[in-house]
């Protein structure tokens, strides 16, 4: 799969990371797509009480929405962080995107264990970026 952008959004919908190779106007458009994805995430996250269907409580939210030439996937953690993955229009299996999110979760946990990182701030650590780049190149 070809990854266009990876976004990590905090519990207050504060962006912690938006990683993409594009710059300038194109980057702005992609950021806009990531923010749009948040609304779709909210929709997919059911209210906490009352709902008994267990599949609704998975972290992996699946395909959030397709645009003309992009597909946007979502994932939400127990700590209300949202991960957004923007892919190109080629065919991908859910298994692969899910695996990517799980691995992203792993390196996110490593990143917040960095003693210089304060919870809720943007993630800028070198380790995290290089881990993320190698994760992207592998998938």
């Amino acid at each position: 799969m070809k990854i266009i952008c990876v976004g990590i959004i905090g519990p207050q919908n504060n962006p912690l990371l938006i990683h993409t190779d594009f710059s300038g106007e194109e980057r702005k458009n992609i950021e806009y797509i990531v923010y749009t994805a948040l609304d779709f995430c909210e929709e997919k996250i059911p209210a906490m009480s009352g709902n008994k269907k267990s599949s609704l409580f998975e972290s992996y939210l699946g395909l959030l929405f397709p645009t003309e030439d992009l597909r946007v996937y979502g994932y939400v953690t127990n700590t209300h962080h949202k991960y957004v993955l923007v892919l190109d229009d080629s065919d991908v299996k859910d298994v692969d995107t899910k695996k990517f999110f799980v691995q992203l979760h792993d390196i996110f946990i490593q990143a917040i264990s960095n003693p210089f990182y304060n919870y809720g701030e943007k993630i800028e650590s070198l380790n995290f970026i290089s881990n993320l780049k190698s994760l992207i190149s592998k998938s």
Binding site: S54, E58, T77, N78, T79, H80, I109, I112, Y119
Partner: protein, 188 residues
């Protein structure tokens, strides 16, 4: 992931002692005359010790919450979060489940641990008469409390990261048992 119990408790002891002494004793003689770090009033000292320890716990608790909830599905209700706190989280941090959990179903939980790990090795000098466990006097309670501010912060931090904004207080009258009171801010 497991951590050696001995290093956990020794590190906590050192940490608590360090914070207490850094607050109550002037550190190095500083160049500036007004050393703002030094506080004279014992009540203030107590408050600052509590704030420092509990904030450290809060930071760590938030980070742990992500780590410890990674491989499970998302929580459905507040009760699930509290259940997670009392079983998984408690076991990972303190080596056992809690002994008793009470709630008023309106955002307040009382968690009791009869043998709380950070207090397990804590003991006061033998008074020469009674070998049985005894009720602590006021002064001793103050000393014991110091070791509970950090765990309190851990709990507060983890709950806040998982979506329950709560005040956590702790009370201990007979070591090594203690009782945490969690009050959700939403319910008020």
């Amino acid at each position: 992931m497991s951590v050696s119990e001995s290093i956990w408790s020794l590190l906590l002891n050192e940490f608590v002692n360090y914070v207490v002494s850094s607050v109550s004793e002037p550190s190095e003689p500083t160049k500036e005359e007004n050393n703002e770090d030094f506080i004279n009033d014992p009540e203030d000292q107590k408050k600052i010790t509590k704030a420092k320890l509990s904030n450290a716990g809060y930071q760590i608790g938030q980070k742990l919450a992500d780590r410890y909830t990674k491989d499970r599905s998302r929580f459905r209700e507040q009760v699930d979060i509290i259940r997670f706190l009392c079983k998984d989280f408690w076991t990972l941090l303190f080596g056992k489940n809690v002994d008793n959990l009470k709630t008023n179903h309106r955002g307040m939980w009382i968690i009791r641990d009869e043998n709380f790990r950070p207090l397990r090795n804590l003991s006061f000098p033998f008074d020469g008469k009674n070998l049985k466990k005894f009720d602590l006097n006021e002064n001793q309670i103050q000393i014991v409390q110091r070791f509970l501010y950090f765990p309190c912060g851990l709990i507060r931090g983890a709950l806040s990261a998982l979506g329950i904004d709560a005040d956590v207080d702790v009370h201990c009258s007979l070591i090594p048992a203690c009782e945490f009171t969690v009050i959700s801010k939403e319910s008020n």
